[in-house]
């Protein structure tokens, strides 16, 4: 299914893109991130990230559906 991904901060630098649409077999954010790590060599482990689906925080095991917008959130550093 097609999934939209937005990248921020270190992930954006490592991907060289701020967003893309992927055709993925992954049915959860956890398996999607594992796919992306294998493809792009992201250095942040899943344990350092949070994930958002359709602009709200989500669990790693949530079922993804066609057209979902997924964002992997690196450790935050506001202030």
């Amino acid at each position: 299914m097609k999934l939209k991904i937005q990248y921020f901060a270190l992930l954006k630098d490592q991907r060289g893109l701020d967003k893309e649409t992927v055709d993925s077999e992954a049915n959860t954010p956890e398996s999607l991130y594992a796919e992306l790590v294998a493809m792009h060599g992201f250095t942040l482990p899943q344990s350092a990230l949070k994930v958002a689906v359709n602009d709200d925080f989500s669990s790693w095991g949530q079922a993804l559906k066609e057209g979902d917008n997924v964002v992997f959130i690196p450790p935050v550093a506001g202030g």
Partner: protein, 146 residues
């Protein structure tokens, strides 16, 4: 990005207008105003910093920031609260974040102000890239030198 007085928290790509923000907190019931300003400093962990770049995931950052301010209203006896966080390139001395809380009494104003800034730092999807005098850069908290 234009500022809207009805939003308790907003990401802003423009310099923060402190006097205008303070106007949102005026309340005849309030006897105290506590504010916090986060400034860009010229050093971090032993390295000389030249400037900072903040970026955010605005769709979620604004929601989460507004949730934090709502929580402050539930936890503390306050009259008004507002917070703003900058994104973009900021020079040394620039104001990166501003929190203001008015309340009948100073204790609740201080406590709520501190709660809001601590939660913003811990939860809101905002990232900080430091530009060092050496020419190197680093995304803070991402544990990787580039």
């Amino acid at each position: 990005m234009s500022d809207n007085a009805t939003d308790s928290f907003l990401i802003s790509s423009e310099p923060l207008q402190l006097e205008a923000l303070k106007q949102h907190l005026l309340d005849a019931h309030a006897g105290a105003l506590a504010t916090f300003e986060g400034w860009v400093r010229n050093h971090n962990e032993g390295q000389a910093v030249e400037q900072l770049e903040y970026s955010s995931y605005p769709a979620l950052a604004n929601k989460e920031g507004q949730r934090i301010v709502e929580e402050a209203f539930q936890k503390f006896d306050i009259d008004a609260a507002i917070a703003r966080h900058r994104v973009g390139l900021l020079p040394i001395g620039g104001i990166a974040v501003w929190v203001g809380v008015s309340a009948a009494h100073r204790g609740a104003a201080f406590d709520a102000c501190r709660y809001i800034i601590e939660e913003i730092k811990g939860r809101v999807p905002i990232w900080k890239k430091e530009y060092y005098s050496s020419g190197a850069t680093d995304w803070i908290n991402c544990h990787q030198r580039a």
